[in-house]
Every structure is written in C-alpha cells, then in structure tokens.
Amino acid sequence: MSHTAFQPAGPAVELETDYCVVGSGAGGATAALTLARAGRSVALVEAGPWRDPHDYPSSTFGAFRDMLPAWGTTFTRGRANWPIVQGAVVGGSTVVNSAIAVHTPGDVLESWREQHGFEGGEALQAFQDELDAELHVAEVPPAARGRTDLLALEGARRLGYPSALLQRYVKDCVGSGQCLQGCRAGRKQSLNVNYVPELLARGGSVLSCAPVARVLFTGARASGVRGRFRHPAERARGAEFAVRARRGVLVGASVVQTAPLLQRSGVRHPALGEGFRSHPGAPVIGVYDEPVDMNRGATQGWGSTAFRSEPGFKLETLSLPLDMVAGRLAGAGQPLMERLREFRHFALWIHATRAETVGRIRPAPFGRSNVYYTLAPADMQRFRAAMLMLARTHVAAGARAVIPGIAGLPYRLLPDEIGVLEQAPLDPRAYVSVLSHLFGGCAMGRDPARSVCDPVGRVREREALCIVDASVIPSVLNVNPQHTIMSLARYVAERMLDREKSE
C-alpha cells in the first residue's frame, strides 16, 4: 500500500497497475474500491491534497483556501456568472457537501432505460441499499436538528406538503454546522475517511496533489495517465508522474474537468463537453421573532421533494456561516450592517431547480475549464416558483418577514407582500444563485452520434476507457446525486471487470 503526496521537482514518479482511476470523489473513489475489492491493483490519482478531519479548516476563509479549486473562482459564463461549488481534495465534493443520501428516483431510471438504453436500474437500486448500510445513512438525529429544520418541517406541515428530516451519510452527527468546511468532528462519511483508506489497505496506491494532464493511449486503447505534482499551498510544480494501466483507465475527475481532460487527451466526439446540466439553486431567508441560530445543528437537516416532478424543484434548509452571509447579503454600508444585526433570527432555505437547460464545457488555459450556461426562461419560471414556495413556507412557519435576495425587488417582504414574487424577474442576473449538482459532458446513451459513452460508461471509439462521475449522467435528477453517482461508478467498474472475463 502506498500514498504518494506532492513530490518536488526531480525524478518522475512511475507506477504500473491494473487500473488507474482519475479523481477521488464520489465516483472515482467508489470505482477504485470496487476494482480493489475484486483483487485488482489500482492507482487512484487526485489533483488535490489528502486532508484528514484534523487538517480541515474551521473558517470559511480556510475552506476557500483548502477545499475549493482555485479559491472557488469557478463560475458559469453566460448571461449571469453563477459560482460552481466543488471539492478539490481527496474525497472530492463528499468532503464539503452536506452528505445527503437520496436513492435515484424510479422515474429517472426508467427514462434512462427508455431514452438512453441504460439497463442497470435494478443494480443501482441494490447498490444504493448497500451504500445505506455501509456508509451509515441515517436521519438527522435529535441532537443535530437545528431550529431552522424544525421550522421548515412545521411550515411544510401547515401548507400540507410532505417533507422530512434528511437522510445523510453521517454517523452520530453532533450538529457542529461545519459540513461545508469538512466535518472536523469526523462524523461525516466522506470518502477520504473510509473508501480511500480501504483502497490503501487492499494494496492500492493513491497519488494526491497530482493533477492529470493527459490520458495516455496506445492506439485506441487507454494505457495510463501522466501529469505533474502541484503543491496545494505554494502552488509549486513538482515532479512528473506517470501511471501505466494494464487493464484500463477510469475517469471521475468531476463534470467540470472530465470532458476537458478527454479533449486535451485527443478524444474527439461531437457530444464531448456538450449536454451540461445542473440543479441551480438560490436562497430565501426568513426572519423570525425568536433567534434561530441556524449554525447550530446539521448544515442541512430538512428537505422536501414534493415538487420535484411538478413544477420541478426541491427544497432544503442550508445553514451558511456568518462570514459567507455577510459577503452575500444585499446592500452595503449602514443598511447592510443593520441587516446583519438580525443574523441570529435568520433561517436560510434553498431550492434546487430541475433545469432542462443544456450548456457546454470547454477546456481553458492552465488546466481550467469554462462552463457556458444560461438558464432558459422555462427553467427560470420553475426557479421563481421555487422562490415563492420557500417564501410561503417561511410565512407558514411564522416568519415575520422574508428576504428574497432578488435584484429589483424590496430587500424585505412582509408576509402579506410575498405575492410579488409571482412577478419577480425571469432574468438570471437578478438572482444570487449557485450550482452544486452538475451533470453531463460525457453523457451515456445508445446513440453513438449523440452520446460520448455507451450505456455502461465506455468511451466510444476508445478501448479500456470509462467515465465514472456525473459526466455520464444524461439528465437531471432533481434529488441529491451522490447516491446515484456512487452506484453508477460501481456499476461501470463491475462491467469493466465483466469484460476482463471475455477478453
């Protein structure tokens, strides 16, 4: 077993294994462990460093520095510049998300079967049952339920729509409200604390601080990867590395990185980098008479998928730290300071919209990527409807005012004024939004002309090259995608093992 972190400039680091997996997030780590459990030698190559819970930052400043790529400066290009949130450490976004576990909806799997030829629906559901047990998926325990979650439950109950405390990959959550900085309490089951260590224990290799520059090919067959170590703090370039993969390469570098990596590696397909989709979301803050203290309890403890099919959004609580709220709340000067005085009375809830808008991803200089994405008017109508539902839920829960955060509308709406949200602008520029669930760029499907991968994740016209992250997902889910990504990665890895037998 070996872990190789940053190596200063010097002799190249070279490895030879059965499989090489690029990226250690939900998809990459799951695929790597699936192969290792089957007895294969595996090298897992991750661009970011490996941080354990005692390495995690406490502040938002530290989270920007240590956990996000390029200080969170990835954003969409289009009519509005919306930030894209991803993790840049071993474990990927599982380290900085709220660990929400939701099974892939049956209607999604059915549409994949009908429209894209994906036959693995039952396998995915079985894998997800196993994930529930293996990663200690459980409802937010009483000790971690924040007042914001309980208010949301009550608001939804009064409006008569179903909602629940969230199921999460957290063992004995203590409600420290630090999910987004990484759980320093070590309770969140991010993959850097379980799957990646198990991979090492099974004889696998991990290269961290190791951004992959190219996938290597021998003819059409993927034969490895190469790149150069990069120091996570000093940004110094280190030694070159090369991993030779005897049996295949699996890429799970994230939706933002996977398609550009393939493009830089010489893969050509008309659909490569196309079909980018997401669940754009935005917050609505309720202001309550009694302090809510939203940073006490789980970062996200409540959710509702009652509207995921029609009109097409999900709702959740989200507790943002004071330092983030201060930089994002509307206004400046004395009015902003007046608004911040109420921080303890804020309950911040968000929606994520089932957006059908399609964007594209392209490589950019210095190993970065550009994401071109502008939400279409039909999606903006769903987006606006979700804002209204959040506002209505706040009012039902007893909020004395609602802060919609929409440019052109009043900063604060009284309960009898929230109807103005029905006429809120449909321009994406009016909203403070964020993209956290990303899909596509290397979508799977049965049509060779329209899908980069076949329905088992193999890149077309290449051999021994598979995609194991959300890049292969051909649609939005409108539920949290981590369970789907992990089970899909396992499915793709197992199909790769199946092919060994036939070769």
């Binding site: 460093p49 005692h54 390495d55 390029a70 969170g72 510049n81 004071l322 921080f343 303890r344």
Partner: protein, 130 residues
Amino acid sequence: MMRLIAASMADLMPRGADLPGCDDCNPRAFLLRLRRESDPLFFAGLVLGTLFYQLAPLLTLWIPLPAVLLPRELRERHAQRLAAHPSYLVRQAVTLVRLSAGLCWGMDPAVRARFGLAAYGPDPGTFRTS
C-alpha cells in the same frame, strides 16, 4: 494598494451603532494573509474590483474623484448605490470586495461573539504528506 482595498472594504461594511465594522477587524492582517494564501486569480480580481470601486463615484454620484477622497457621507451613499446598481456588471464588479469584507468581518472573534458564535478554531492548512 492594500490600504485602498481595506478602505473599500470598510466602506462596504462600516462600523454600526452596536456592531464592529470591517475597520475594527484588523483588515491589514487579513489582506496580507489573503495575498499570501489566496489564488492569484482571486487576488487579482479583488484588486481590479477595488480599482473599480474607487473610480465608480463617477457612476454613482457623478463625482470624478476616487472614493477614498470623498467625505464619509458621500462614501456611504456611493457604497449603497453601487450595491443596488441596476447594472448587473456593476454589481458583479465589486463581488470579490464584498466577499472579502464579509470574510474579514465574519471571522473576527469579537464579531462572532456578538452573534453567540464561538471563535473559529485553526485553519491548519495541513495535509497528508506520505
């Protein structure tokens, strides 16, 4: 440049009746740390945003002077008008200045205590080296 950034941050988050402002949160130490530890692209964006903020009184007040030379009342009006400007690009131009001001202010122990929040622990910046 650091003084200009700190002055801009202080305009956006001034001292309130019972709340510290950005100026009370050691912005110079914050900015030195930010320059040392942030992504160059982020810091370059902060510098450009600051330059825009300083020159923008021409847009908000029709006054051709840098914001730092204006009296306090006019700086307050400038900050408010810029934050609520109808142009998205104008609002976006100062996003990183606002974000930095929020980080500086919100991580200050005295500010956090005011909101019943514990002081932040360390940001060790460490990682596995072997």
